[in-house]
């Protein structure tokens, strides 16, 4: 406590002290005077004997203080005063730093949450996705998911592996739940045994699905997500044990998964068992995502080797039916490429995030350069003050510290403000970021992110202060005292630091603008691509599923779908309506299979290429605006009559028969037991997986046919996307009428994924538009900051050289000469910056190759345009102060002396 008292009683202590010292001197003087000295001599003698009074007092006072802390506090106080005295400078500097730090923190919080933090599972580093590729499978190379697992693969891997603790396969699906309230279309994850064990997240209520629940035709069970449990059962624990109607079949609820649990990044409402019927499985059926948990200490390479070994067992244990060679899959060259689950979840978004992070980092550097420049200007104005302090004996270390304290304080204050900006920035990012950003729900500001902003604040503070401090508080500072005010012209050396800063600003701005330019070109290229449908804002889409338990007979299903289409077409404002198994870019797992052409021969009779296939109704093409290239489209009598007809995409027609016209009348089939189907129409290519991916070859089947799922009896597709073309698409009133139209046919049918095609399209280019927006903002910021930098430097130089210019003018120089001289100086700086920037951009834009479309990373047009723009704008920034220089009145400038 005594130190506290000291702190407050210190003023008294100091007063006592100086009084005491005065008394001491007085006493001595009196004694000397008494000894016969004059008072004046005595005073001098007394002082001589005593030593330096001020120093003594200071030394005595130091006894009461913590010198280092208090010096620092003094510096802080001094710095604050200096900042307060210059509110404009402080505001601009603070804002610049705060925006820089805020933007960096916000983006880093996304990078941190999405890319850096481990997944939300126990020992997440053991989790892997069983990714595999099949470079030898014709047609398969297009499928970005690689070769998914078939159920038979799952059984082999699960039973014969040596490297996994647990392993399972899953697939996402939808199902309708009836009997609770309104019929609802729910998101379902079908899991095999092993998936929940792999992820290892205990249920909140009840138990996991067990192996016993996986028995086909056994008791039917289901687990709920936390959200669905809350929504439908109000979090009632007795929900466990009750039954719900899933696709019109009763399933018993056995448990509820905890809040925030997802299967990878898939959010869901229900988990149901896959319940594979082992006896009916064949080799094929590659449609399931495989995940596994590695044994402790097992490496991914070992697991890859393990899978390679098991592939042989798999081919030995299963068959595709009589007469087929199970080992023909060897020609597919199936290769395991197991990768950490985190990479699977993150997907290709890491490219975008790192590019954005790098971009924002660059902006931060530009901002720092600008503030440094401001500091340099300010400190040049304070040079005499510094020189004076140096002359009075301030150590240069102390002065450097003072300046650094000032700039670090600026940094910290900017950082605090920046943290607030970051909070808002994260919100903004989430609002404009791609909606399909993985792990979106996990993004938040945490200790690590805030740590980064503190670090940035201190670092930028030090960086800001260092250059001015080294330059002006250095040992030679005293020179300034003599030379200040006399300098007739700017010395070259004095402006080197600021010119360097401007050069680097221009270079960084160029890099950012080139990146933004490339993204603009990409975006424009994407916009010009014909996606395979027209006018998406007037296309309404929705998913409707008719479960077997609700309507058993396939033909009845088709009749209902047909009736819904008619009702929809009769709705006011609707031009036409059609249905399709899935619209392009909707993001459902695609179906594909081997396709044989009658007039081609295939080795072993099973080695045909794989193609994507879809089902479309009559009227779909017209509704979607997809062009028919040759032949005709399906009619309802084709469909109801089960006529063996098929349509194909243009690129498929060209691939097999050379021209679309040649394809008409040719025969196709999916597998040997299926009758040949005649090609009646060729359809334009459709960008099925987004405009950035090339259009795949597609086979279009009618929505009802024999052998649809391998069985001879006719069957239909029960879950389809309805497509409606109307000017009123997307409006609330229209949606109500659509709902009524559907429910007038069957009131038990839920509508899911109701949206306009424009939304679907925008989502598919969200990655590009997000990157474009971010780079655009960054580029604009860098440009503005860079211009301010150039303008600042040139106009400062001009004001410094006023006298020199005055002399020149007085000696007969023309205004134009002066203008030219100043412009030349600016142009030199800018050109050097542009040259360096082009070099840097050439190296850096290569990193964003993955994000570009229809333009190379070294697109000369973008480079030239950006360079020209930058030079032009920079010259304008130079021109304004240069004009001022030209108008200098020699009389005024010289009289100033």
């Amino acid at each position: 406590m005594s130190w506290l008292r000291q702190l407050f009683s210190r003023r008294q202590l100091y007063k006592d002290l100086s009084e005491e010292i005065q008394e001491h001197l007085e006493e001595k003087i009196e004694e000397l005077v008494a000894g016969g000295m004059s008072r004046k001599e005595a005073t001098a003698a007394a002082r001589r004997a005593f030593g330096n009074v001020t120093l003594t007092e200071e030394d005595s006072r130091i006894v009461w203080r913590w010198p280092s802390v208090e010096d620092l506090l003094a510096d802080v106080r001094y710095g604050l005063r200096a900042l307060r005295h210059n509110p404009m400078f402080t505001a601009v500097a603070l804002l610049t730093i705060a925006i820089g730090i805020g933007a960096n923190t916000a983006v880093f919080s996304v990078v941190n949450s999405v890319l850096l933090k481990p997944l939300n599972y126990r020992n997440a580093e053991q989790l892997v996705s069983l990714h595999q590729i099949a470079p030898g499978a014709p047609g398969l190379a297009d499928f970005e998911n690689g070769l998914l697992l078939s159920p038979s693969m799952y059984f082999t891997y699960s039973e014969h592996n040596r490297t996994f603790q647990a392993l399972g396969v899953w697939i996402s699906n939808t199902a309708s739940v009836t009997g609770l309230a309104e019929p609802e279309q729910l998101r379902v994850v079908e899991v095999s045994d092993g998936v929940l064990e792999t992820l290892d997240v205990p249920p909140t209520v009840g138990r996991w699905l067990s192996q016993a629940d996986q028995v086909p035709r056994g008791p039917e069970r289901v687990m709920l997500s936390y959200g669905y449990w809350q929504r439908r059962f109000g979090g009632d624990r007795t929900a466990v044990g009750r039954k719900i109607l899933v696709d019109a079949r009763p399933r018993e609820i056995v448990g509820v998964m905890p809040h925030g649990f997802r299967v990878l990044d898939t959010d869901f409402d229900l988990i149901v068992p896959t319940a594979f019927d082992r006896g009916k499985l064949i080799l094929a059926g590659f449609g399931y995502h495989g995940i596994a948990r590695l044994k402790t200490g097992a490496a991914i390479a070992q697991a890859d080797a393990d899978i390679t070994r098991m592939l042989t067992i798999w081919m030995d244990s299963w068959t595709n039916g009589p007469g087929t060679n199970p080992h023909f899959y060897e020609t597919w060259k199936i290769t395991p490429m197991i990768r950490p689950l985190k990479r699977e979840v993150i997907g290709n978004v890491s490219d975008v995030l790192w590019v954005v992070m790098g971009t924002i980092g660059l902006v931060m550097l530009v901002a720092c350069a600008n503030v440094t420049n401001l500091l340099l200007v300010r400190i040049a104005a304070r040079q005499q003050e510094l020189a004076l302090r140096a002359a009075l004996g301030a150590g240069w270390g102390r002065m450097v510290r003072g300046l650094l304290v000032e700039s670090v304080m600026l940094g910290l204050m900017g950082g605090a403000l920046g943290a607030a900006f970051a909070y808002a920035g994260v919100r903004l990012l989430l609002a404009i970021g791609p909606t399909n950003l993985p792990r979106l729900s996990e993004i938040s500001l945490d200790a690590r992110t805030l740590g980064l902003s503190v670090l940035l604040a201190v670092l930028s503070g030090l960086l800001l202060g260092l250059i001015p401090a080294m330059k002006y508080a250095g040992p030679r500072a005293s020179l300034a005292l003599r030379s200040e005010g006399r300098a007739a012209s700017a010395s070259r050396e004095r402006h080197r630091a600021r010119n360097t800063l401007v050069v680097s600003q221009v270079a960084m701005a160029l890099v950012l603008l080139v990146s933004a330019g490339l993204m603009i070109r990409t975006f424009r290229a994407l916009r010009t691509v014909d996606p395979g449908f027209t006018d998406p804002q007037h296309l309404q889409v929705m998913r409707i599923s008719i479960p077997g338990a609700l309507v058993a007979e396939p033909e009845r299903v088709l009749r209902i779908q047909n009736e819904i289409l008619e009702k929809l077409a009769a709705t006011p404002g609707v031009k036409s309506a059609g249905l399709v198994s899935e619209m392009p870019m909707e993001g459902f797992d695609s179906d594909w299979d081997v396709i044989f052409a009658q007039d081609k021969t295939y080795p072993d009779n099973v080695m045909a290429p794989l193609y994507l296939y879809k089902y479309i109704s009559p009227g779909f093409l017209q509704t979607a605006g997809t062009r028919l290239i040759a032949g005709r489209e399906f009619t309802w009598s084709d469909v109801y009559g089960l006529r063996p007809v098929v349509m194909i995409s243009e690129n498929l027609a060209r691939e097999i028969w050379g021209t679309p016209a040649a394809a008409i009348g040719k025969q196709l089939r999916e597998f040997s037991s299926m009758p040949w189907h005649g090609v009646i129409g060729v359809i334009q290519d459709v960008r099925e997986r987004g405009v950035q991916d090339k259009a795949p070859e597609i086979v279009y089947w009618p929505p009802m046919m024999e052998y649809l799922f391998g069985n001879k009896t006719a069957d239909t597709v029960r879950t389809v996307t309805f497509v409606i073309r109307s000017e009123r698409a997307g409006t609330e009133g229209f949606l109500n009428e659509v709902r009524q139209a559907v429910w007038s046919v069957n009131s038990n049918l839920p509508l899911a994924s109701v949206q306009t095609m424009e939304k679907v399209y925008d989502k598919s280019v969200a990655r590009t538009s997000f990157t474009l927006v971010m780079l655009g903002i960054a580029g604009a910021m860098a440009l503005v900051l860079g211009i301010i930098g150039i303008y600042g430097v040139i106009s400062y130089t001009v004001s410094q050289r006023k006298r020199e210019i005055g002399i020149r003018l007085a000696l007969g120089a023309q205004g134009g000469d002066v203008l030219q001289m100043v412009l030349k100086q600016g142009a030199k700086t800018v050109l050097v910056g542009v040259a360096i920037g082009i070099g840097a951009a050439l190296a850096l834009t290569r990193l964003m190759t993955n994000l570009l479309f229809g333009v190379t990373a070294h697109d000369p047009m973008t480079f030239a345009a950006v360079a020209a723009l930058l030079i032009l704008v920079a010259l304008v920034a130079c021109y304004i102060p240069a004009r001022r220089a030209m108008l200098v009145d020699p009389n005024v400038a010289l009289r100033y002396e």
Binding site: E20, K28, E57
Partner: protein
């Protein structure tokens, strides 16, 4: 140590302290008078001495320093450790004994 020793005999004020030390050391120790004060402040902080305003013999308002109990103890310790050190030095310097 010298200050504490002096104050142990009787409380004194600053000027008197300097005079006393000068006198007793027969001017062998030439110290700047001012340097006394930082030392006194240190002793104050450690609470080895106490200071009170009072009147000197020459009728002057002065601060009189007084040894505290802690100060006396500290002095003892210091003196004994100084003596030990001195003894050590003396032995090392004493010619040809070992």
């Amino acid at each position: 140590m010298m200050i504490l020793r002096t104050l142990k005999r009787r409380p004194l004020h600053g000027y008197a302290l300097v005079q006393h030390i000068k006198r007793t050391s027969h001017d062998l120790l030439q110290i700047e008078e001012g340097s006394l004060y930082p030392a006194l402040q240190r002793l104050l902080r450690e609470e080895f001495v106490k200071a009170e305003w009072g009147m000197s013999s020459t009728n002057r308002r002065v601060r009189i320093y007084k040894l505290t109990a802690a100060g006396a103890k500290h002095l003892e310790r210091e003196v004994s450790s100084f003596e030990r050190m001195l003894e050590g030095i003396t032995r090392v310097l004493a010619p040809g004994e070992s």
